[in-house]
Point group: C2
Chain length 480, copies 2
């Protein structure tokens, strides 16, 4: 093994950025593609994405949302139909200009997002109230050219995501859908990835280009920076008008429809790595771990081997019958110590060690990845590993929630804010609602309004910046 | 409802091409996107693709193949590394030349296939025999500019597919993998889509550019034309050499690895539509049908409604407990007759009709889509619908196999061949192995060698074209 295979060489605390990159690469989740800004997912990385996809799909389906496919190429003329939207994405669009040696007349954009294409189709498909609501979701990749240094899962020019697009006959129903989706997102991220999220609205300045308003989820990372975890937009009739998404109501009068769009991306995997990982490497929440339990048999000679291996087989069978994803590391040429490090690096939630002494004691050693605690478990109690996995999942969320809470500060004094923002964190600070103050704060501190938490509106305090009457208490933070 | 909603307006026999397009559009599987050559999948179309994906994923997984993600952009320099391969795809590549307003130095190709990109990564990931076999699969879309008229699922410039790429330490193991995959393909297509396929090798002229040889599956469509259903390639060391996919063997000597690649696309859905559809529209094999059973309650007044609906609920529950995908069509404003036609157009395998008279008789009417037969089923026997679905699946394959057999002809006389090829079909005809004969036949009849069936090699007959000693009996046909 070459040196760089051995493990993570920097600590999470000392060099967070380098630590993150090493975890991604050495745990074999992803790798850099030959083109700057692009990454490749290796099986363990993609498996986590598939697991999230399957969970979301179930929840979308039970909410009446069905999947479809949209092509990746969008003609420039179509993308330009909603002007603000176009202006927002234009600088980062990849343009196809040729097929073979032939020049293409109307340049083709690689999908930065599919509102314009989806709604062109919807306007054909929707004629009457009978066709509504129309609720579709698309699992695909979006492309937005990144000029800054590539950061796997966090800053890439192509990223995997889902984009949902729904159409409703009333404003009320559309706005309800926006919130239903945000709730599905929040629950899934907390339950599957063990990451707490705060939900609220984006400010006018930060909302999705083309939306009436954007709801968002934000999480705080260990370096004190905020990460946007997903957004759900109320589009009103901003797109239904230029794209003619109309329906005849029961009284046969034609109306423009009300729309929503929403998405989460593989950025969620990046957040999970940052939140849970440690100096030994990745730490995976059991629910999305490709391997939940790894069994490492320990023996030095054939006699021991013959004692240990049948028991390993037995334990494996019990765990599989409980639908636990289990792997037996029976590689011959490697020492148990090497294997322990290897699986810790890869973040497998539970390791089961079993050697000749354990056979004598009729028990195994259980090592939990997230807190690195070891304990022993009787052969008769192997099924309890199922409960252990559940507890790990719960505790990981609990720990992450405590961390997030400790990094969230109520503040009203701007000077204090300016000194504290250096260390990072979420700052609840009153704001007058004026974009000038928002911009000044950004300019002077690098922090922007991440979100205005639901229920924090209509306050009666003084804007942290201008001291005028506040209209809400947003969360200010520096962001990814 | 406008006229075009009412049903298929041409017969399958009289205008096969128009019939096909109408079925795709009216059964709402897919629609044309704004850019020529591109299509959009609607929920029912995508659901069939998801069903196939899930089946393949299970089979790939149990064969040790894991999924990953590759970006869509491949630099021109990389694509050009294997010269023949590049020359083969070059004319149909979409080129990205700009991101925003910036010109890109090394033009980027939209993935026509990912050999070059995957193997660049593999060469980094593979060091020793311990890293082999490396078996990965990628579900994505490929782009190859089509200049001919768009045909949904059959001829599109972007298509959904999976591409598998494996690396092995020995030639033997790689060749075995090629065949294992072909077998998975064949079984899945026959079992899930009820389409019989013939397997064999492509001729040198027709093989994948860059492969040592290509194995293929071909099916015969109702218009007598052949459709390639998927291919599995033995790449030998043709790519491992230029891309330096090397491994140190146990004795620490470095070797170039042996590789395979293979894929099936949404073209399989096109084949299914063509093979099974009829003048009423789509006919779906139960295994991949998004809805397997539709229940249509029949009533004219509230009194009947109150009798019928509770029973409908009950039946639905029984079917759902059998894991049957069931839908109740309780649309108020539509007549039962309209609903029958609607679900026939959409190809739902079984329709359950239930009205007040059926309640009296304690039975329901069952209408099977594939043969349009009606029968009655006692309330006590509702669970039998599960068996009925299985039988439908088996019978659909049987019927399709009989049709394929009837359209396959042994032939050795070229004059006879030339007259018969006009009507279409698969022709088993002896061939000397020379590309000149193959080209002449193509030129004069439009038919090419679709495949050389396994076991048809080493024959001792006379080439249909030149009368010289034959080396095999390929299947000649006109193709899609």
């Amino acid at each position: 093994m070459s040196k760089e295979d051995i493990g993570i060489t920097v600590s999470k605390k000392e060099d967070f950025s380098e630590w993150y990159t090493q975890v991604v690469l050495k745990a074999k989740l992803a790798d850099y593609a030959p083109v700057k800004g692009l990454i490749v997912l290796r099986p363990d990385g993609y498996s986590i994405w598939e697991s999230l996809r399957n969970t979301f799909d179930k929840k979308f389906a039970s909410n009446g949302i069905r999947n479809g496919f949209l092509p990746i190429l969008i003609p420039e003329s179509l993308l330009g139909k909603e002007q603000k939207h176009f202006a927002g994405f234009n600088p980062e669009v990849f343009w196809v200009t040729h097929s073979g040696d032939n020049k293409i007349g109307d340049r083709l954009a690689l999908r930065p997002t599919s509102e314009t294409l989806a709604y062109t189709m919807y306007s054909k498909w929707i004629q009457s109230w009978r066709d509504l609501p129309l609720k579709m979701n698309f699992w695909n990749s979006a492309l937005r050219a990144e000029i800054k240094a590539t950061k796997p899962f966090l800053r890439t020019s192509e990223f995997l995501w889902q984009e949902g697009h729904t159409v409703h006959s009333t404003q009320e129903e559309a706005e309800e859908e926006v919130m239903k989706i945000l709730e599905i997102y929040k629950k899934t991220i907390e339950e599957e990835l063990a990451i707490p999220v705060t939900t609220g609205k984006k400010s006018e300045k930060e909302k999705f280009v083309g939306a009436v308003y954007t709801t968002t989820m934000e999480s705080i990372m260990p370096d004190g920076k905020a990460l946007q975890m997903g957004t759900s937009h109320f589009l009103g009739q901003n797109f239904s008008k230029p794209f003619e998404v109309k329906f005849a109501d029961k009284d046969n009068v034609e109306h423009y429809a009300w729309q929503t769009s929403w998405g989460v991306s593989w950025r969620l995997i990046g957040a999970m790595i940052m939140i849970h990982g440690d100096d030994q490497g990745l730490v995976l929440p059991p629910k999305i771990a490709p391997i939940q339990v790894v069994i490492v048999p320990i023996y030095k000679n054939d006699e021991d081997k013959d004692k240990v291996l049948p028991k390993v087989k037995e334990i494996r069978k019990i765990l599989e019958s409980k639908e636990i994803r289990v792997h037996v590391d029976d590689r011959n040429e490697l020492s148990p110590g090497y294997k322990f490090n290897d699986w810790e690096l890869k973040g497998v939630p539970v390791r089961v060690e079993i050697g000749p002494k354990d056979i004598e004691k009729q028990s195994v050693v259980i090592a939990k990845r997230y807190n690195r605690e070891k304990s022993s478990l009787d052969f008769t109690e192997i099924e309890k590993i199922s409960t252990i996995l559940d507890k790990i999942q719960t505790n990981m969320l609990k720990t992450a929630s405590e961390q997030a809470k400790a990094n969230t500060i109520d503040i009203s004094d701007y000077t204090e804010f300016k000194s504290k923002i250096e260390k990072g964190g979420f700052f609840n600070a009153p704001w007058c609602g004026k974009v000038e103050c928002e911009e000044k704060i950004k300019e002077e501190t690098g922090a922007d309004i991440r979100l205005i938490p639901f229920g924090s509106e209509n306050t009666n305090e003084k804007c942290m910046y201008c001291q005028e009457q506040s209209i809400s208490i947003p969360i200010f933070a520096r962001g990814y």
